[in-house]
Symmetry: C2
Subunit: 219 residues, 2 copies
Amino acid sequence: MDDKDISNAVIARLPRYYRYLGELKNDRIERVSSRELSRLMHVTASQIRQDFNNFGGFGQQGYGYNVDYLYDEIGKILGLDHIHNMIIIGAGNLGQALVGYMNFKNRGFVFRGAFDISQNVIGKKIGSIEVLPLDDMPEFVRNNNIDIAVLTVPKTAAAGIAKELVECRIKAIWNFAHIDLPVPDSIKVENVHLSDSLMKLSYNLHRSEDDTNTTGAAE
Amino acid sequence: MDDKDISNAVIARLPRYYRYLGELKNDRIERVSSRELSRLMHVTASQIRQDFNNFGGFGQQGYGYNVDYLYDEIGKILGLDHIHNMIIIGAGNLGQALVGYMNFKNRGFVFRGAFDISQNVIGKKIGSIEVLPLDDMPEFVRNNNIDIAVLTVPKTAAAGIAKELVECRIKAIWNFAHIDLPVPDSIKVENVHLSDSLMKLSYNLHRSEDDTNTTGAAE
């Protein structure tokens, strides 16, 4: 499959399709038309068909899509037919929350190790995983076929740790630290910048208040 | 300021500009050119100028931008010159992590209340905030001028709580539950769908492995 030209916007929508199809599957719905999916997801049917055409279309429109098939195919595109071995670096509340999410495990994302520098958490367990000293991390990554490191450490520590991760040839970093990591392009990084998200919300909140005020003044 | 036509992509980039300008400010840099900012942020200088032109341009290019001024102006656009009163619903690890982020408070986002249904956490304190029973939430929102509710509850509980929030006229919801909330457009919602983010990372990881394999076969 040649998917190099598929836009980030399409990729970003795939998990949402996957989620809605999972719900249809749970409800034992066997087929769904792009029109029904459109109504559920509040996107246009033509957007759905365009998105799916990037991957060959997933079957005939007239009959609608086979839900199980479509769910599995999108899952494969998202790499969910693989097991991903993960570690978490930073075993604070956020780290603990992420390790605790059963949903990740159900989709093949399995935490194998947790690391921290604080004596308060080293030796403690998060679920079934013992928190180890950060110094043990490089060897652990090399010996346990770790694909993804999850970074839930303060901003000040993140760049140094990212450098170590590069050295032990991690493939991907899920980054919650509030910096852009200095890693080569060969390492995939997905950022969750929570402050940025909150500021976007704040922007939209004030824009709508400005609109309301403008309307008020015009009356 | 008429900013109705400013695209989501531009809005999404504003917090990142704000972050980099904050760092320049900390380093006591007084002026920065779009070229320097471009080098730091790995976006083109023309992209930066285009983005800033949406808001009037923020001053002359030849001299570069005044860092303090630009930082403050972008802060105002993001609504950061206001105090935002927030509550958190769901006092688990993720909720506790969010309440603990001092950075939010520094930018005017202040948690005033926390709510949960679990007897294990009701009555406990997160920082200086006591966790109250969810039943107390509507009155609290009405009496404390709450702008933003942060939803860190399981998917199954989220829609019902969102409905209550609509009834007590919340203005905005920062949603961490893994559903699209059924609320009217007048309420601003910003979603942080962690699973979606992890799946995007997985997609990019496998796409790059596919590329590597293809290259290998062609040799």
